[in-house]
Symmetry: C2
Subunit: 494 residues, 2 copies
């Protein structure tokens, strides 16, 4: 039976994925400094084995044959999702993939060096090559998938997301934020003018911050028998569902950044730990996509972790671990600080979407040929001035060179961040409708209801549905910005 | 060119080995407790991939074709060693390997349970099955390799080692120890009767012991940019040559066991870190075998780490890290303590070979059919009483059930431990001939000469020579027990 053959094949692929996931986490946390070269060699060889097996012609034959076999609904969905992966992995000719992989590696290396030197013009030729390749890639993917080019790129990260739906929503959000960012800043200023801010600085030993982080992780639902917390330069959530590795980094002068980072990664980890175990080796058993994943991390970081009700419970925890007493009035201005800034990854939840919308617009213009790579600095600067009132024209390092996505050719990914924020707010609204007093739970450190809802409506479903379908089924509505806007208004508005 | 094909194949095998080595080390050090089942699944799938690739028929074809190609000496040796691996891996029919693997797994699981219960008779049927299989295995290996059955088993661990050479040496050593163990114990007693022993107990925080261990590792030559020290339940040396993972375990009531363990594993690590890098993906670039590996760990633990000259330099280090001052007279009786005991892994260097010789003799009798599994307890007890004056007849847990080797079917391995001890002493004698004042170096914490000698004569040679050839070339003599006996006499005798 072909389904059985696919199942065995998926088990082999899972073993390679397992190895790559643990080797990847290990590299960032425990690898000896001189181990990098051999590790890179091993990882790329394993990735090659994975690709060869996942795209083997017999996979295509078995997929075709399995479609004729008597399968139940879940099995049919499993075959459909495996076929989706197979199509996404085979729709580019190997010769192109090789050329693109080399160009991406070269461009990423160049970017690392030239970003530090704030040198846009030396980087431009490499980026031009990347843009040419991504246009080719999008055209080929579009052809095979029967999608618009930008949709075909997004399809790799979030099956079902389309510019036709997202575009108007982002447009609406941009208009809203055009008015709301100044309002939130004014509200913040008024509050700060009334009472002075207790500065968020002190001496916080790493070991105590770590214990606080572990206690918070466990409280919001992280299963410490199936995961761990380490230190790495860039925080991440990696590993495998039975052994989720999350990391953070600590500053000993303040505790909030590490703690919020831990909550964010815990959100990713909860999704991984609660995926359907019986399908762990099939794409069906994996998380739906990048925007849904981000909605889970942002849910824990923003809906839970920056909720004033949460802090009623969290402050005694902070005091117990760090030996320092904070009032809600003192901590919340730090937790909810809003500021127009140049850097996306440092942005608060109010201004963050504008960073994403800017990139979403530039990416579409680049792909459509309305913009060339050489036009980026001016286009970027015009939008930054328009959306956030800041100029980066003389500072490409903190402008279009700030992110690794473009140097590495990952176009169509940026929307996921803000889609995640919208989807988290929409899920939160649905939960509040089902549990009107849910914030009282937070104040008691009780996250069972909120996790039960997410387990049932998101986590346990793996990749059963496309991204829009999953959101619609979970919340009863298609994607909308209205809950996110309402969330911002109630938290930051007048 | 077939050699090129073999080279590419070896690179793929190296990537899988890399993954398995790091996953193995990770499992014992950083894996979440609930991650074991999926890890075992991944490891066994990767091992299957490795086996399938290493034994693929085209490997045999390329090996045959490469023998006809114009190759230099190193390349010829590389092909020879790869052929040796290929022959050792393909000489058993897959049907037999599968049957044996299952029996071993079952027997090991059973052993873990029944050893704790001290229940020999329930374990016996499983062990009988293992003995039957190992007889079949040895016969098949012997047939293919043209060796005696026990030699064919040893060949997997130490190419070139033969009972005809080892047997008489072990016999000689057994006779020597029959007289020497009582002498060493008497000398010890006399010394202790003259001055009272400072007890080796106190409070030693793990972090301080760890810092001491790292400082000692670095001093004796461990490259901390290509390796690390962690904690695990059973100490080991794992990982890959560019990232060697060694572990220890700490007791906070004494510091010597962890420190000696670190030195032992550092000895293994030095071998790995100094193997010929250009051949790392070929068997030629790997350590020669188990007894040579053990000679390197024992060299650092015994020849260096238990040398009184070493302690002249080490004691100020101990004081600096642990804040406790010891005199050589106080510490050496602990470092050089001799005691007749039941457990091999706890034995000192004087009594240890008797544990090994006992097993070597029993294994040969089992293989030849002179002994059945059911006869083991009596045979064991008779030898234990004869060699060490101890009985285990009512205590199989601390007798023939104490080691995992037999339950897991690893016959022919035990000799490696004592061969390692003999070879370490023989290397030490050769080094002393070349550097008569080498102990003065130790007293200054200078291990350059001793490491240079080993790098040149052992480490950098990988698997260029068989075990006996390598020893002969390094020391100018075939294997002998005389240096080991002289070493014991000078350290423990009158």
């Amino acid at each position: 039976m072909s389904f059985q053959k696919l199942d065995e094949s998926c088990r082999r692929l899972e073993a390679l994925e397992h190895a790559m996931a643990i080797l990847g986490a290990d590299e960032a946390t425990h690898m000896a400094p001189g181990g990098g070269e051999k590790r890179a060699e091993a990882m790329s060889t394993l990735a090659g084995m994975y690709h060869r097996q996942a795209t083997a012609p017999e996979m295509g034959d078995w997929l075709a044959a399995a479609a004729e076999e008597a399968l139940d609904d879940e099995q049919r969905a499993a075959v459909r999702e495996l076929r989706r992966q197979y199509t996404n992995m085979t729709c580019l000719p190997p010769e192109f993939v090789e050329r693109q992989t080399k160009a991406r590696l070269r461009s990423e290396q160049l970017w690392r060096d030239l970003r530090a030197k704030n040198d846009w013009s030396s980087f431009l030729p490499a980026l031009e090559g990347i843009v040419t390749l991504v246009r080719e890639e999008a055209a080929m993917r579009a052809e095979v998938l029967g999608l618009e080019p930008y949709d075909a790129l997004m399809e790799q990260y979030d099956p079902g997301n389309r510019v036709a739906e997202i575009g108007p929503i982002f447009e609406d959000l941009k208009v809203f934020l055009g008015g709301f960012v100044p309002e939130a800043l004014a509200v913040q200023e008024e509050r700060l003018s009334k009472s002075s801010l207790k500065p968020l600085s002190g001496v916080y030993p790493v070991e105590k911050q770590r214990e606080l982080g572990l206690a918070m992780m466990a409280a919001v639902g992280f299963d410490l028998t199936h995961g761990s917390l380490s230190v790495s330069h860039h925080p991440f959530c990696g590993g495998v569902p039975t052994d989720v590795r999350i990391t953070t980094r600590y500053r000993t002068t303040e505790f909030l950044s590490a703690l919020m980072g831990v909550l964010h990664e815990t959100g990713h980890a909860l999704y991984e730990q609660n995926l359907p175990k019986g399908w762990s080796h099939w794409p069906l058993g994996k998380a739906r996509g990048m925007s849904m994943h981000e909605s889970q991390s942002l849910f824990v970081e923003k809906q839970i972790g920056r909720n004033p009700a949460f802090w009623r419970w969290a402050l005694p925890m902070v005091e117990r671990h760090l030996g320092e007493s904070w009032s809600a009035e003192d901590i919340l201005p730090h937790v909810l600080h809003v500021e127009r800034g140049l850097i996306r990854v440092d942005a608060d939840e109010v201004t963050y979407p504008l960073h994403v919308i800017l990139r979403f617009e530039v990416e579409q213009d680049l792909l459509a040929g309305r913009l060339e790579a050489s036009d980026i600095p001016e286009a970027w600067d015009a939008k930054m001035r328009d959306y956030l009132g800041l100029s980066t024209i003389d500072n490409p390092q903190d402008g279009p060179m700030q992110d690794v996505h473009w140097p590495s050719g990952a176009f169509g990914y940026f929307p996921s961040y803000t889609l995640g924020a919208l989807m988290a707010a929409q899920q939160w609204a649905a939960i509040q409708r089902a549990h009107p007093s849910i914030e009282d739970d937070f104040a008691k450190g009780d996250f069972e209801a909120v996790n039960d809802w997410r387990r049932k409506n998101i986590w346990s479903l793996g990749s059963m549905w496309s991204t829009p379908e999953l959101l619609q089924k979970a919340t009863g509505e298609p994607l909308t910005a209205k809950y996110f806007e309402a969330h911002l208004k109630s938290r930051y508005g007048r």
